[in-house]
């Protein structure tokens, strides 16, 4: 009887592992927040591994992995949020130090001041907002 329970647990974990493998590679790269979605899918894989460990009688390993798996997922998501998540993290969109003489990169505050100063001219049509930068050809 115990053999059947172990087998059922192992087959359930195999099905969950296959589903998570398919989900991990079938998500499109241009999907929004795709890294968080993949971390979420790996959570399914973690639980499948814990089920397999329980089925073969490794209770201590299953308990240890049950505790440490969320820490791993959170660490990866936190690292992605801090350094690479340009979709959601506004701090990553600004350039901190800008050379004043650089003709191509302008600080965000300067552009905002320019936009607010000249915005009266362009409000004839409220559907569009136009930002203009004067380019001196002598530079």
């Amino acid at each position: 009887m115990i053999e059947y329970i172990q087998s059922i647990l192992l087959i359930i974990s195999a099905i969950l592992i296959i589903i998570s493998a398919i989900g991990l590679i079938s998500l499109q790269n241009n999907t929004k927040n795709v890294v968080y979605a993949r971390i979420h899918i790996v959570g399914v894989f973690d639980i499948a591994c814990i089920l397999a460990m329980l089925a073969i009688g490794q209770y201590l390993l299953a308990g240890i992995y049950l505790v440490i798996a969320p820490f791993t997922a959170h660490a990866i998501a936190n690292a992605y949020w801090k350094k690479e998540d340009k979709e959601n993290n506004l701090n990553l969109k600004t350039v901190e130090k800008v050379d004043e003489n650089n003709p191509f990169i302008h600080p965000r505050e300067k552009i905002e001041v320019l936009e607010t100063k000249d915005s009266g001219k362009f409000k004839t049509d409220s559907k569009f907002s136009v930002a203009m930068l004067e380019i001196d050809e002598g530079e």
């Binding site: 053999e3 059947y4 172990q6 087998s7 192992l10 087959i11 974990s13 195999a14 099905i15 592992i17 296959i18 998570s20 493998a21 398919i22 991990l24 590679i25 790269n29 890294v35 993949r38 971390i39 790996v42 894989f45 973690d46 591994c49 397999a52 460990m53 073969i56 009688g57 490794q58 390993l61 240890i64 992995y65 440490i68 820490f71 791993t72 660490a75 990866i76 998501a77 936190n78 690292a79 992605y80 949020w81 801090k82 350094k83 690479e84």
Partner: protein, 88 residues
């Protein structure tokens, strides 16, 4: 044939498929995806070792998989802390 024996082999095959999928996912452009894929590969390999050791009555495989799970966790968290940088 024993059903437990067959189901252990099925899980090992599923883990190999998961390892291949994680290797593919770790080749995507962000380094967080590489970190995620490598941690999945380590855990899948550790569980596959556990199952193989259980199939062939090899006791020391359990110790290797325990070391893999623990040090894989430590390495993943350490790399994630280095990647994330300091809190301001």
């Amino acid at each position: 044939m024993d059903i437990l024996f067959v189901s252990k082999y099925i899980v090992v095959i599923a883990l190999i498929i998961m390892m291949l999928a994680a290797l593919r996912a770790s080749a995507y452009k962000s380094s967080s995806m590489g970190l995620l894929g490598s941690s999945v590969v380590v855990v899948a390999f550790a569980v596959a070792l556990l199952l193989v050791g259980d199939l062939y009555n090899l006791e020391f495989y359990r110790d290797i998989s325990l070391a893999l799970i623990l040090f894989g966790f430590v390495g993943t968290v350490a790399f994630a802390v280095v990647l994330g940088g300091d809190d301001k």
